[in-house]
Structures are given as structure tokens and as C-alpha cells.
Amino acid sequence: MALGKNKWHDRYPELGTGPIPVEPYVSPEYFEQERDRIFRKTWLNIGRVEQIPQPGDYFVKDLTVCNTSILVVRGKDGEVRAFHNMCSHRGNQLVWDTKGRCQTFSCKFHGWTYALDGSLRHITDEHNFFGLKKETLGMTPLAVDTWEGFIFINVDPDPQQALSEYLGKGLRTSITGYPFEDLSTNCFSWHTDVQANWKVAKDAFQEVYHISTLHRRIIGDVYASKANPYANALDFTLYPPHGRVSLSANPGRKLTGVESIVQGFGSTVLQQNNSASEELPAGVNPTGYPHWSFDGLALFPNCLIYVSKGTYLTHIFWPITENLTRWEIRTYSPQAETLSGRFSQEYGKVSFRDTLLEDASTLERTQTMLRSGAKKEIVLQDEELLIRQHYKVTESFLNA
């Protein structure tokens, strides 16, 4: 690992090195532009295929930022479809649960009923309507596609790119072979609403510069070491609008008492020190570093995927207002086969979650101060490359 000065920005000089403005984090007008030109135009990761394994399985996703609620359902033919969750009669929300399994969807308001493929099947007191064309009154579909088991939707009625084109070949092949499917049988997840702009939240999870300060007690020595005191990254590779970072571990770290106990049973924490000589999934540890920790994919606009050996996790940041964000965290791992395995997973869950609580401590405080107007700009260092790229990409979307 070569620690160097400004090496990432030398690799991507087009991003510049200057400060970036505070306005995108606090302005309601900017937020409306993000809504219209980014969230209503791009592919958004809304979940995993494992959420709906069987025909008739569905889940509902409230997409406040796109002013809609989405119903995602697996049809009798095994296809995954997505619809605006809305009855064609007077617009009532069709499904009120967050998930379930059914044969048909029946509106609680007047009983109109839809098939799993979205077509309208039953109109209550139909003969009292006036020449309805039932075949034109199905649920309104949305563009939907999957990649590595992640379900993406696009609320644009006519998406400008297919999902595979939007993700791009570079990003897609960078992670080829990672066993997302095998690792997705078990999911621990949380969400919360934080009073911060969605980018304040995302920024906090797409740089590790803060680890040696904010997390010094929990994971201060997990990534940072004497040789690499600020946990500088092994690699940054950009696939605009997306990007990837690769992180090393501190090989000299001593496990705590309970960590030593846990270790024998496989934990859901990001495995911290994965030797390159071990069998690692293809498409990780791009530099082949002997003490690799994890790789992070930043999918524009609002999704981060962190992959390690034996476990991966996602952060998704759903804007609500310019000052409010629903933050979703999901960690994936294989099912534990024994109670000992469950204990070990529990430990991983707790220590990861505690780290999240520390991370979150800055979010609302930062938003409060950004709103003060005291400063018009913030400054970024070399290791905050993904934050800088996010800003530049956003500008290009807003000015397109």
C-alpha cells in the first residue's frame, strides 16, 4: 500500500480540488431540482429479489422523494413487476401493508381488484359505471430491472437508459463473481428518520477519514494503524456517476475478549482482516493487498454497497425534505446453523449498530450548522473523493 499525497485527485484531475458549496445541502429549490432531475430520472435500488421469492410475494416502498408509493410483486410467471401503488378508480393507495403474499390485490375503498400482473379484474357494481374499458384501467407500471439480485426501479415513464447501461460495464464487471445470492439468505436491517439532508447522511458513509477520530473507541484501530494512521484507502476507481473504494485492515489489531470468542463462529460484521492468501470472492480487493478489509460501491444517487468476505451491507438514503432523510441500513449474511452462530451474528450486529449510532451523532448537528449560513463552502481532502464526485455528478445532472 503506497500512502501518498493527493494521489486520487491526481488520478481524477477533472474533479478539481476546490471547496464545494453548502447550498446543495440546505436549499429547498436545489432539493426540488434533485427530485425532478435525479430521483425522477435515474434507476433507484429499492430492495432484493429475496424479499419476494415466491409468486404472489410483494413489498411496498414509499418513495416520498418521487411523490409516490411503489408496489413490487412477483407474478405467477416468476417475473418481478413494479407499479404505482394506486387504485385506478379514485386513486386510493391499493396495498397498505409493507409486505405480504396474495393472489390478487383488492382496494379497501370500493373493492376493485387487480391481478398480480397489474391488470384490473373486478369492478364493484360495475354496471353502474359508464362504458369503462377495463383493459385500460390496470395499475400503472414502472420500469423495473435487477442486477446481482438488487431490484431497481425508474419512475421516468420513458427511462433514458436501461439499468445495465446506467450502471455501466466498468462498475458491473468490477464486482463480478461476488456471491451476493449466497450471502443474502439472512438480513438484519434498520431504518430511522434523521433531520439532515440526504447528502449529509451519504457523505458520512462514503469517506473513512472520520474513523480514527469519531470511532476511535469502537473501531479506531480496525482500519487505522501506525503505518496508516488515517486509514487512507487502497484504491479509488470511478465509474461515473458511480465509484468504488477499497480499504485495508490494520494487521496488528488485537481482538477483544468477546471478539476472540465470536471469531470461531462467523460474524456478520464486516470481516476486518481478510488475508489475500485466503480464498476471496472474485471482484474484490482490486489491489491484491494482503490485509484487505472491504470494498465500497457508491451507486448514484443514493445507494452504498459494502462488500467483504462472508457478508455485505447496504446504506440507502431516501430524501424526504431538504432537511429530512429516511436512512435504511441492511446487513446480509448466510443463515446461522447453530445457536453459537446466532450469538456470533448478534455480536456483529451490535458492534456494527453501535458504530452507526456514532456515525449518526454528527448528521443532525452538521445539518443544523450548514443551515446557519455561517459558511458558504466546505472543504474536502483527497480521501473524500466520492463526496466530491457526487457533487460534480449532481451538477451535471442539474445542468443537463
Binding site: 409486505k99 469502537i218 449518526a360
Partner: protein, 112 residues
């Protein structure tokens, strides 16, 4: 004579049964409302027994755990919950977002 709550050989842990809690939320609340002296006492009682406990729990298939072993298992989940407090922070919860604001969500299908 109170009834035995934990499996044979683990009765010495019965004074810590208040930590045998079935849900993550209960364990979170227990952690954040307990003083470090109580948390540390629980930690010190259970950690030296963990090899025995895990070996004992390994014998049961996940779907056939007797009630006394289940209680013992819940003790290990509470240990997982408080270990970072003892080993890393020296206080029940790290300075940060209130732990109860991170709501547990179950996104996978619930099959009966």
C-alpha cells in the same frame, strides 16, 4: 424451592437471569438503563463460561431448543449486547444517536 431456570451446570448464572431477554429492544433498553457496575458484573460472570455455554448450546437443532437452554442462549445475546460497552467505551452506550431511534425492520417474508 424455586424451579431451576437454567440447564444443569449453569445454575451459578441464575442471579443474572434479568439479562435473559428475548427481544433486541428489551436488551437495548436493559443496556442503556443499567449502570456500568451491573453491566460489568454480568460480563465478568458470563465470559469465563462462554466456551462451556456455546458447546452446550451447539447440541440443539435450532428449532428444538428447550426452554432452559433458550434462557441460557438469551444470556449470550445480552453478552453480545454489552461486550462493546465493557471492552471499548466504558459506558453503557456510545455517544451518538439514541439507540431506540434505529428501528429494527424485517424485510424478508414472514412465513407461518
Amino acid at each position: 424451592m424455586s424451579k431451576r431456570q437454567l440447564p444443569e451446570g449453569f445454575q451459578d448464572l441464575e442471579p443474572y437471569l434479568e439479562w435473559s431477554l428475548a427481544t433486541d429492544r428489551e436488551r437495548s433498553i436493559k443496556r442503556q438503563t443499567s449502570p456500568m457496575t451491573k453491566i460489568t458484573a454480568f460480563y465478568q460472570a458470563v465470559v469465563p463460561r462462554m466456551d462451556e455455554i456455546l458447546a452446550y448450546l451447539e447440541q440443539y437443532p435450532l428449532e428444538q431448543v428447550p426452554a432452559d437452554a433458550q434462557r441460557l442462549f438469551y444470556l449470550t445475546l445480552s453478552l453480545a449486547k454489552i461486550a462493546p460497552a465493557v471492552e471499548m467505551y466504558g459506558e453503557p452506550v456510545p455517544e451518538g444517536l439514541d439507540t431506540l431511534r434505529l428501528e429494527n425492520i424485517d424485510i424478508y417474508p414472514t412465513r407461518s
